[in-house]
């Protein structure tokens, strides 16, 4: 009976992706001004955040920027318990951690991001959350660390 061999292969790959005008503007506002911007479709009037150049529903180009608050409502959530590779580090993200689809106030789509909190009984669809910003921002969605539950004392305008 033949021994069954395996051929190992490891590689490190990296890419430099060209983005576009809407990414550059969104990131500039995020990083430099701690402002969140969405793009509005001229036909259906939906505001997309993150922004993209064309409304998929209407096939219409979007050029109208709309400011969106950094507070919002959780529309879906989960707590991840297993090691998932964090693409920003290349390493498994320490679990458990919360994730959510968050509809920011002023936007019609939801943003996929992290949610503070590990206890599913404390989380619910419809809860109000606000962004927690990194001190030093680099120009990426990860400049928001995660979203935390807003308690009653907090106003939407606090950054």
């Amino acid at each position: 009976m033949t021994d069954l061999l395996h051929i190992p292969h490891a590689m490190t790959l990296s890419w430099r992706y060209g983005t576009s005008w809407y990414f550059a503007e969104f990131i500039r506002a995020l990083r430099d001004e701690r402002r969140l911007l969405g793009l509005r479709c001229p036909v259906c009037r939906r505001v997309y955040l993150p922004p993209r150049p064309v409304c998929g529903n209407c096939c219409a180009e979007m050029r109208e920027w709309v400011e969106v608050k950094n507070s919002g409502t959780v529309r879906a959530f989960t707590i991840v318990h297993i090691p998932i590779i964090d693409p920003t580090t290349g390493e498994p993200r320490p679990a458990p951690y919360g994730m959510a689809l968050i509809q920011l106030d002023g936007a019609d789509t939801t943003l996929n991001h992290y949610l503070a909190g590990n206890d599913p009984s404390e989380l619910r669809i419809g809860m109000r959350v606000r962004a927690v910003w990194r001190e030093e921002r680099r120009g990426a969605l990860s400049d928001i660390v995660h979203f935390v539950a807003m308690n009653n004392e907090q106003s939407d305008n606090e950054h």
Binding site: M11, P50, G56, V80, I84, P87, T109, Y114, P120, I125
Partner: protein, 386 residues
């Protein structure tokens, strides 16, 4: 367009790790079985379509290597890579190649060897602008949508667990299936490790090594070669916007599956799917998804999926057996998973499904699911036309 039928299928024994064969040999195992099932040889095949997610095993141009295992030498070979729908998309591409009149006999094969690869890292290579900032993985993404589905439609973890149990008990009758855990119970599912709330480990599909092939033939060839082929009555695809946050409540609305099914039923002349279909092989990566698909496929009204599983309607002895093969929940080599749905649906209407044959099956549904919300719907019948 010509009428097209499936005249043969072939599968490997699917498992956690097929170390005895390399990828080309795995493909050959399924290919030779499909050729034998059809009663033809490699020379009779006019074109080959491959289904594989090359990033999962880190092989650029897998068609170059594996194509020869699929009998592709000196034949036109195409490769399709569309996430979970790769297999069903490849089956639809193969059907198109045959129906167009360009080719009379087309072989479609999907395969994957997850044991060799870095599937999770492949899933981490999502769009670089937005998604790559967040570590969700497949299960995290499903869990997000499931939280919405549960909130709106009120299915319980027990009902989802019943789907997981049904799949694995059915797999016990399928000699090719990967997971063989026929003694599974609802309790075992709910006690298994939590992956991402509310999805337990036993609610989720495995990662498998395996391959599956189907062979199409056009009208006259099909009738000449095969006594009881599986006629393609509909083959429909729908894709959707790419960002997860754009898809509203995707498991709840599942507009791609809904729309694809509507068109497929129309083409096949089906008005009451629950009554008229004899069997369904649907692509269910997680137990909750199968419940959502019952609604999207029109097997029941919105919010009624839980009742369907509670009443045993979709069990192997029920009114509409769903996934008598064990489904993706029991066997999941991603490039092959969609082809397996089509092959199993074909086996049913051809009367070749062995111990998991649904007696008298003549009309079967197969679906594919992939990326965030892409859907394929294929309807096969023992009857050539209405």
């Amino acid at each position: 367009m010509r009428r097209v039928a499936i005249i043969g299928t072939g599968q490997t024994k699917h498992g956690k790790a097929r170390d005895d064969v390399n990828q080309a040999e795995l493909a050959r195992e399924a290919t030779t079985r499909a050729l034998a099932d059809a009663g033809i040889n490699r020379r009779d095949v006019d074109a080959v379509v491959l289904s594989n997610m090359e990033l999962f095993e880190g092989r650029a141009l897998p068609e170059m290597w594996v194509g020869e295992g699929a009998g592709g030498y000196l034949k036109p070979v195409t490769k399709i890579a569309t996430g979970g729908t790769s297999g069903t998309s490849a089956c639809i591409a193969g059907y198109h190649q045959c129906a167009s009149g360009l080719f009379d006999v087309v072989l479609v094969i999907g395969w994957e060897k997850h044991s060799e690869g870095a599937t999770q890292t492949g899933m981490a290579l999502t769009d670089p602008l937005w998604d790559r900032n967040v570590a969700s993985g497949a299960v995290g993404n499903f869990a997000l949508s499931i939280s919405q589905y549960v909130a709106e439609r009120g299915v319980t973890p027990q009902q989802a667990a019943k789907v997981a149990v049904k799949a694995r008990r059915n797999a016990a009758k399928n000699p090719y299936a990967h997971l063989q855990i026929g003694d599974i119970t609802v309790e075992k599912v709910l006690e298994s490790r939590m992956l991402a709330d509310p999805v337990h480990r036993l609610d989720m599909c495995p990662q498998s090594d395996g391959a599956c092939a189907v062979i199409y033939a056009a009208e006259d060839r099909a009738k000449k070669i095969c006594q009881r082929p599986a006629w393609v009555r509909a083959a429909v695809t729908r894709h959707d916007q790419p960002y997860i946050g754009d898809l509203d409540r995707r498991l709840v609305t599942m507009r791609t599956l809904r729309d694809a099914a509507r068109e497929a039923y129309e083409r096949a002349g089906i008005t009451e799917p629950l009554k008229e279909l004899d069997v369904a092989e649907i692509y269910e990566p997680v137990s909750y998804a199968e419940l959502a698909w019952y609604e999207a496929l029109g097997f029941c009204a919105e919010g009624d999926a839980g009742r369907l599983i509670d009443d045993g309607v979709t069990e192997i002895e029920g009114e509409l057996p769903v996934n008598p093969s064990g489904g993706v929940l029991s066997t999941n080599p991603v490039g092959a998973s969609g082809v397996i749905r089509v092959a199993e649906a074909a086996m049913q209407v051809m009367g070749r499904a062995g111990d998991h044959q649904i007696p008298g099956a003549r009309l079967a549904l197969a679906t594919g699911y992939g990326v965030y919300a892409w859907s394929d719907v294929i309807i096969l019948s023992a009857d050539e036309a209405e």
